[in-house]
């Protein structure tokens, strides 16, 4: 009788574990599938001309250089605004903020920023940067919009990295006559740097792949040149992929896959860098 129960329980466990394993595989395999499929389908389209050329024949031929450069500019612009602000906010939350109602409100605001739909950011960017501040549909407006969207990712990962630095380092530094800011600048920030960097890259990765926030703030349908100033509109990889896969009839499928591959490489490349930074920092860490 006892044996029977034991084996029954074992059976349940085996079934349960199999089910969970199956679910995990069903989650994970499509991810690998997507990446491999785009790699295989897109690779034939990749050529020197495709990467460095301008679109021709109504985007049905030629290259995607303006979209690549545009995404690069947007990512850079996003970094310029969101990194200093995000890291400073993280420093505030981790090193200065008292545990009070205001701080809870800040945290709630960050959670909310993270949850706001990307297209709503687009509306906000249109209302504030494009129309109210009169930046027009431009690299500047789009970068600012993406920056605010990226902010919560950077703040929360940077704060986590700062908090991971042992409290004892701070105490010792203060006891040796350091001010709070000296402690942060000389000990805490350098130690948290890899973690902050990882968060920054992950945040920018998301910004680079976004379409909805730049739809009405800076993305150009077709622009046969590179933007000359921050007040120019720009092509961008994700928006370009959207355009050529839905808006342009008789679009050669190879160019579509090629564009998807370049976008994926851009984004996943950043992801790999972030993973590398993180694992190297873990190995080198002295605490």
């Amino acid at each position: 009788m006892k044996r029977f129960f034991t084996s029954n329980r074992d059976l349940t466990q085996r079934l349960g574990f199999s089910l969970l394993t199956l679910m995990t595989l069903l989650t994970v395999i499509p991810i690998i599938g997507v990446v491999i499929y785009i790699l295989v389908q897109g690779a034939p389209a990749i050529s020197w001309e495709f990467i460095t050329g301008f679109p021709r024949s109504g985007m049905r031929a030629g290259g995607i250089l303006p979209a690549i450069i545009g995404t690069f500019y947007l990512t850079l612009g996003t970094a310029i605004f969101s990194v200093p602000l995000g890291v400073a906010a993280a420093v505030y939350l981790s090193e200065y903020a008292p545990e009070n109602r205001l701080t809870r409100l800040i945290r709630l605001a960050i959670i909310n920023l993270a949850g706001i739909p990307s297209v709503v950011y687009g509306l906000f960017g249109l209302g504030l940067f494009v129309l109210f501040l009169k930046f027009g549909t431009s690299v500047l407006s789009a970068s600012l919009t993406l920056s605010i969207m990226t902010l919560p990712v950077i703040i929360s990962t940077a704060e986590e990295a700062l908090r991971a630095v042992p409290q004892s380092f701070r105490t010792v530094s203060i006891s040796l006559g350091a001010t709070r800011w000296q402690t942060i600048r000389r000990i805490v920030l350098p130690q948290a740097l890899p973690g902050i960097l990882t968060g920054v890259i992950l945040g920018l990765e998301r910004a680079a792949g976004e379409t909805a926030p730049i739809l009405f703030t800076g993305a150009a349908f077709f622009l046969p040149r590179l933007p000359n100033s921050p007040f120019d509109a720009t092509m961008a990889l994700p928006y370009h992929l959207f355009v050529i896969s839905t808006q342009v009839p008789e679009m050669p499928i190879q160019i579509q896959y090629g564009t998807a591959l370049v976008l994926l490489t851009f984004v996943l490349g950043m992801n790999l860098i972030a993973t590398y930074v993180r694992s190297r920092a873990r190995a080198k860490r002295q605490w």
Binding site: P166, S168, F169, R170, T171, V172, S173, I174, S175, L176, G177, A178, T179, Q182, R186, I187, P190, Q191, Q286, W287
Partner: protein, 251 residues
Amino acid sequence: MNKIAIEDLNLQYADGTESLNGINLEVPANAITVLFGPAGGGKSSLLRCINRLNDLAEVKKMTGRILLDGGNILDQKTDVIALRRKVGMVFARPVVLPMSIRQNLTYGLELAGEKHKSRLDEAVERSLKQAALWEEVHDRLDEAAIALSGGQQQRLCLARVLALRPEVILLDEPTSGLDPISTGKVEASLQELKKNYTVILVPHSVQQAARTADHAAFFLQGKLVEYAPGTEIFTNPQDQRTEDYVTGRFG
């Protein structure tokens, strides 16, 4: 001559832990004063008042005065940074900063604005010698401090404090994690140091207290029970509670 005078000090933390009640204590210069007693008695809290490290904790209430050379350091107008350079502290767990041995030693001086390499080098050598570490590390000053053994790390922490030429050295169970040989080295350094510094030590055992104390104060549940020269308190304690603790009946 008294270096520090603590007058009617009361302290209560916001989270309700360990506190101090009506402490009066005079700490003589050029001697080792030991604060001992069971855990939670307020010894560490008192140490952290003397260099205002308690500013980092959430203190609910603090009254009384701590006079250092006659000036009240608890006063709002005290230059805390200057105070902490004058009153150094060594913690229970050796915490070396994540940098080289040399950088650990020059950290405090550089913060104070010292830029001359010769003076920094001089301070490195002097402080390492005072902490009896020079022989072991002088040829690898630029290696990561974390690579040192636990005992060496703790002596580095002591040297780091000495590099600043403080007047008072606070030690909070500095040998609690060390082997007997390292402990011996630290204790020997302290005997040497008291000639020039005022040393306040929270020992990690009654034995250590008895070995090192010129003066000893027995703390119990936030109160100072008895304060006497070391030769007396461990051989002929006046208070029953002190006697019970010293003879090992509790704690």
